[in-house]
Structure formats: structure tokens, C-alpha cells
Amino acid sequence: MSIKETAQAVMKKAVQIAPDALMPGGAPDPLIRQKHGLIGTPVSRLDGPQKVSGTARFAAEFPMEGMLFATLKYSTIPKGKITNLDIAAAAAAPGVVLVMTHHNAPRMKPAPAFMSSAKAAGGDDLPIMQDAEIHWNGQPVAVVLAETQEQADYAKTLIGVTYETEPAVTAFEVAKADSEPGVFQGEPLLLEIGDADASLAAAPHKVDAVYRTPRHSHNPIELHAATVGWDGDHLLVHDASQCVTHTAWSLAEVFGIAEEQVHVTSLFVGGGFGSKTLWQHQTLAAAASKLAERPVRLMLSREGVYRIVGGRTLTEQRMAIGAQGDGRFDALIQTGVVAMGRHNNMPEPFILPARSAYQAGSFRLDVEAAKMDMVANTFMRAPGESVGTFALESAVDELADNLGMDPIELRIRNEPEKDPTTGAPFSSRHIVEAYRAGAEKFGWAARKAKPGTHREGEWLIGMGCATATYPYYRMPGGAARITLTADGRANVKIAAHEMGMGTSTTQTMVTADRLGLAMECVSVDYGDSHFPGVVLAGGSQQTASIGASVAAAYRKLITELLKLAGKDSPLHGLDADEVIGRDGHLCKSDELERRESYVSLMARIGREELTAEASAPPPLEFTHWSMHSHGAMFCEVRVNAITGETRVSRFLGSFDCGRILNPKTAASQFRGGIIMGLGLALMEETQFDERNGRVMNPSLAEYHVPVHIDVPEIDVIWTDIPDPHAPMGAHGVGEIGITGVGAAVANAVYNAMGRRVRDLPITLDKTLPELGLVP
């Protein structure tokens, strides 16, 4: 263990054994007790009217004076050197203002790769159009700027590139021979407790199989885009971003300017799912704009997104469980290999769910990364959990079948009392309640325990279930600013993001409840790097990060307000922790009639406005407690016995994610995750040509995502039990929905046809042989 690792381990242990009271969340957020506010009521999106009327402006929709249109040309080899770039015809084409290549691009540093430092946003840390080297098939080799998009796109076709190809590793089997231990968030993924191999060998019941998941692409419908312009040495970027502060800092590093000189806005984002971070296009647009001395709009084509924005990588997972006759797990083994780019660090951590899902006598969990010459793979909705739960929860289903037990009962039998691998107490874990409620509502009792025995005409019908799980995270750096005005209104500013999660609406509700103001008296501004806070829209952590930041700013604001109000105020002598907001007033929390309105308080202090900015406390709570969201997924499928076609006919998700802040938008998050999970189960695959490292289906015609006709009505229910240690008692709900779905579908397919598919997606080529319809 290195000195750094030892220090980290010591810190972690100290946080684990520290008294609860010293932890953030040690005292429950007062909002958890409040029962009559906006929290928990279904509120329609505040930005709804803009979105349905077409007035919401996305990144590529900001007109700028003198703006040029950009297009990119991509390499067609996976590794080697550009030996010749013929741009003469393109440069002379009508309307063309600039052709930028490595010959004339300004000198720039590589973008700091994501997770390499607190505000690093880069998908990789490769040079950006600085030399002749090619690192992946699809790397940008030229940027064309023209007066219109049509002129730019045409001119691009006139560019000639010749390459000297070098040997590349583009086949997974070759890369696997040279894989290395996966390191995630600074820590090795390998975890061993006891002798899992020996326990497995000795166990009377076992499953031991290999599960595979392919590459996936996020495919937000909004294409990645940036509209950029320079004002002297200040850069303005209208981006589609889930990390505005990270992007501003990282672009400043690239161009060698101060962070404050880069202004990134991103008010509306047309979906992200992990993909809308800093890739080469923003930098290239800014560089070209600098050379041309004019603003630039660069919207990637759909193919362009596949070429330069990475997706989820493939996984090959060995999953083994050894159990006693009563179902108790003796051994839990989940190990395997993922493909990873050479210039990023994202070893898809598929073992994360197994760290806390079940009690077991022994564990061996490990991920190896096999480096390949390919576009950098990256985070995609529930990185690790989405594909890890496929193997884990399929294996549990296989074991239940092997033991002749109901799969829900088998899961409950292995329910841990505390975190099975860290020993930390759970902050809030009500998965058994979620299973019971879900089974009841779904009609699980009607499932035929013997697979392949329920047929209606051509259709084989089956039911399956699986556990969903995703951690509670809160990342460092959260901060917010609240301004209270003389008319009793409040405004929050925070560099957070709204990609459709409902953040802006939900945080307006939460802030209104915290201050005791009506919703229409509160506004929340976000999506701007000049606002306070480093708030990644990722890891389902925004809700907690914003919640804790606003709570800190609120406390500072109220402290200041009470101090300034002086001894004539009825609240004199109270501190911020002794008051709560109600109906436009601050009230003594245990004596509500002792109160004063914000309007009166502001008049008393003689200010037009009062502003407070504060940072959230360090996020120690999820080390001190084991904090996770949970769910029980139920699926009914119909597999056609003649064609092999699989249709999902019913789906129910029963969630345990703390308190649900806005049932309307949370339900959409759950359903949206589940639907992406149906895609993962049945159709999604980024096809990678192992001969040359090129994505073969870079379009929405050939990469299939679920469409209207693929999606049944999806029922979602939740326990609504607050997590006493989380801000507002809530967990983020953006990622939990996709987890467990792959296994729930695969388990239902098994129950329908009596044959197991362990290789996603479950397409016809996999069901037909199992049905005996093709050899």
C-alpha cells in the first residue's frame, strides 16, 4: 500500500468510527419532519411552458453576431500518423473561412481527464489536434468553418488525408491478455474477504457462469454542441453540459487562461446520461473561433457523437455464488474484464452492487481493465451498477431455480444487517418492504415457478424480478448563494444542471419549504459556471449536493438576518437552528406564534436585499454510513415461440430511495431509467469493428433504443421512507431506475422459455437457438 493509499485508509477508518453527531446528516435535516410543505406533492415542471413551446434555448440555438458554422473530419484508422493533409480544395470552397488542422491549430494543453482532479472534465487527456498522431478511429483531424453549415459540410468532403497505419489493439481477446487491475475513484476495485474460491468449492449449491454486456451509447436526442465566442481573452461557451464549472476550469487549463475568463452556460440540456462532459468538440470550436476571430457554432452530427464521445464499455463477468441448502450465501464471486481506452480511467466498476447487496461468508470482487485503441469509454447512467446487477441478479435467480426457492425469498434470506463488506451501518435500507409491496402490486404470486410452462397461443409468458441498487453520493465542492429581497422573495444561484431530471422545479420546492415561502416567491438559477459551487450532474448526487449547499447558505443567511434584526425583533436571542420558515415568516421552531415575516425583518434591517453564500460540509456521511438506494424490479415478458421475438408486457419498479421530493418528476426519472434498462436488456449495442476499432452503427437507425411501441405502461411505487442522514431525507433517483432491469428481463425470459440468456442484448439470434428454432 502506498503512503497515499494508507493515508486514505486511515481517514476512512476515522470517519467510520467517528460519533454520528460529528457527521453531516448526524442531526436529521429539519425538512424531514415538516409534513405540510411542497415536498412530497406532485408539481409540474416550471420550465414546461418553454419546453413545449419551443422557446427553451439549447446549446446550438444561441445566435451570435458574425457566427460561423463548423464541421469536423474524423480519422479512419485506429492508430498511426497523418502523413498528408490536402486542404487546398476545401479552403478554396465557397463560404469557407478556415480549415484548421494540427498544422495551424493554436497550441493547447490536453484537457485534464475526468477524476484526475476536482474540476477535471475531459473524456481523455490526449493532445487535441496538436500533432499528426492518431489515437483512435474517429479522432478529429480537421475543422472546417464556413458561413453556412451546408458550405462547411461540403468543403469537408474535399479534404484528403493519408495515413501511416501502426499496429493497434482493437480486439478484446488480444487486449485481455494484457489487462491490469481496475482502479476506480482512486481505490483498487479488488476486494477479498475470506477464501471465496474454497467456500465456493465446498458449497452444496452453486452457480458459476460468465455474463456479457456489450458497449452502449448514451444517445441523448440533443446532439453534443457548443456555441462559442471570444471577447479578447475571455471565452464564452454555450454548452450542453452536465458539469459547467468543471468545463470552465478545464477549458481554462487547455487555453492557459484563468478559470474566471471562461464562462460556460448550459440552461437547457437535451439529455446527457453521462455523456455531456468535455470532449474535443468544445475545445476545437473555441480554438477555431480564436483563429477565425469570429463566434462559432459546432453541433456534432449523430455519427460525430459516436466518433468522439465515448460510451459505456463492454464487460465480461464471471459470477459465482455458493450457498447452503437453506439459501444462505457462503461465497460471492464477481470478477472479470472490461475494455478501456488507453488515455482515460474508467474501468466500468460492475462489482459495486455486490459490495453491499447481500450477506455472504466470503467475497471476491474484482475488475480488470483491458486497454484498447478506441475512443475513451466513459460514464453512462449507473456506471457499474447497470451492467453489474445483470450478472449478480441473474445469478441469484439461477441459484433460486437450482434450490427450488422463490427468488424473492432467497434474496430476503441473504439480507444483510449492516454493510457486508465495510461493516458500516446502513443509513436507510428498506428493500424487503419494497419487495413485498412490489410483489403484491405486480401479482408475483401468479408466476409459474416451473419455467416454460405458461403459453398463450404463440406466446411464452414469464415473470422475473431483480434487485436495483445505486449508492447515495455527495461530491465535494457544493456551494450556493441565496439572496433575500425586501419584498420577501428569495433567489438561489448554484452552478447545477437541468437535463430533464426536474432539478430546477424540485429545488425550487425544497428552497421554498426551507425558507417557508410560497413557491412563486422562490427562483433558482443554475446552469452557469459563474454561479457558486462545483456540482456535477452525475452519480445521482445533484439533489443531495444542492440540498446541502442551499441548507448551508440558508443557515448563514438566517444567522445574518437575525443578527441584523436586533433586539426589537420578536425573534431576538434565537439562532438559526432555533427558527424555521413558515408562511413567509421566520418562527421559533417550538413556538410558532413567536414569529416575524421576512418582509418585516428586511424592513427592520433597512436592506433591499441580503445575500449569503456558503459551502456544503465535506461529504463524509456516505463513508460513515453505508448509504444506498434500492429497488425491486418486476417484469413480465412474452417470447414468441415461432419468431423468438421478446416483448415486455408489464413492468413495475418498487423503490426505496428515501423521501421522494416531487413524485411527478421522480416517477419520470424512475420510468426513464427503466426504459433505458429495457434497451440494455433487449436491443442496445454499440457495434465495434474489431479489425479496425471503428464503431459500425453510428446512427439511431442502427443503434436501437426503445420506441413508443416497445414500452408498456410502467408502474412505479416507493416506500417514501426518509433517510435520516441525507439532506431532505432524499436520495437522487436518476440512475437507480436502469439498475436491475437487465436481470429482471432476462429472468423473465428464462421463466418464459426455460432457457437462460447470459449475453446481452437478448436479441433473436440468442432466443431462436434456445427455442430450438435454428441450430
Binding site: V52, S53, G54, A60, L223, S301, G500
Partner: protein, 167 residues
Amino acid sequence: MSININGSPTNLPSDTRVSLLDLLRDHLNLSGTKKGCNQGACGACTVLVDGERILSCLALAVQYEGRSVTTVEGLSTNGLLHPLQQAFIDHDGFQCGYCTPGQLCSAVGMLREVRRGLPSNVTNDLEGESITLTRDELCERMSGNLCRCGAYNGIVYAITEFAETTK
């Protein structure tokens, strides 16, 4: 050479390569109509031409000389939301909102197709007098409009409610 967009006559571009979508977005700053693939696979660019839904990314602007185009900006009148727009808000028929303009225009055009009795792939009775807008009929007919956020359930509720109130 003129085209009517949301009731206003507009000059057609001299560059015949300009798609109807790029005319709207890049040349007229009518950015309500969205680009999601530029190859007819996602439906985000759906607009109505003389009441029929088309994919504006697969249409050259000059082909539509003299025709009337309605975009999402043209659905609302005098600043009042179209009832289908309101139904999308009420039923949370979107998350990020990027596919929404296409879903809205597509739904308006789709309901006219149903009223005209045009069959779909899931219509059992091809000789029937009228089409019943079952859930399957609706979903089949809307399947050209992708929503990656997965707001499909809300979209279906919204369209169903609107269709019932305007029968």
C-alpha cells in the same frame, strides 16, 4: 420563391442544399424544431406541412415552395398553449424537452391520419370505416419519435387525453 411558416411568408434560400430543418433553425432562428440525427431516424425535427407531418431534416426547403409549414412555435396561438402542449405539461410527457416539439407536431399530424382512417402496421381491419385509437395504435404511430429520457408513458397519456377531448 416563398414558403409560409407559421402564417408568415418567408423567402426560400438560394442554396438548394438547405434542408427545411436548417432553414428553420440556422437561417430563421426558429430553433423550436430540433435536430437529433439529421437522417430521419429520431423524429425530433417533425413539422406539419399543410397539416401533414414530415421529417424536416429529410426535406429540402425549396421543395416546399408555396406550402404552409407549422412548427412547434406555431402550435400555440396568441401566447396561449395548444391544449396538447398543456397536456404534455400536465402528464409530464417530457424530461429534457428536446424531442418534445417533434412529439407534439407528430401527434397533431398523427391524429389527423387516424381521423382520415389511414391504417397502421397494427390495424387489424384494413377495410374498417374508422380507426379506434387504441394504445397500440397510438404507440405504433408515434414510434418514429424517439424519447431517450423515456417519457413515453406521459406522452401517451397526454395524447390520449387530448384525443378524447377533441373527438
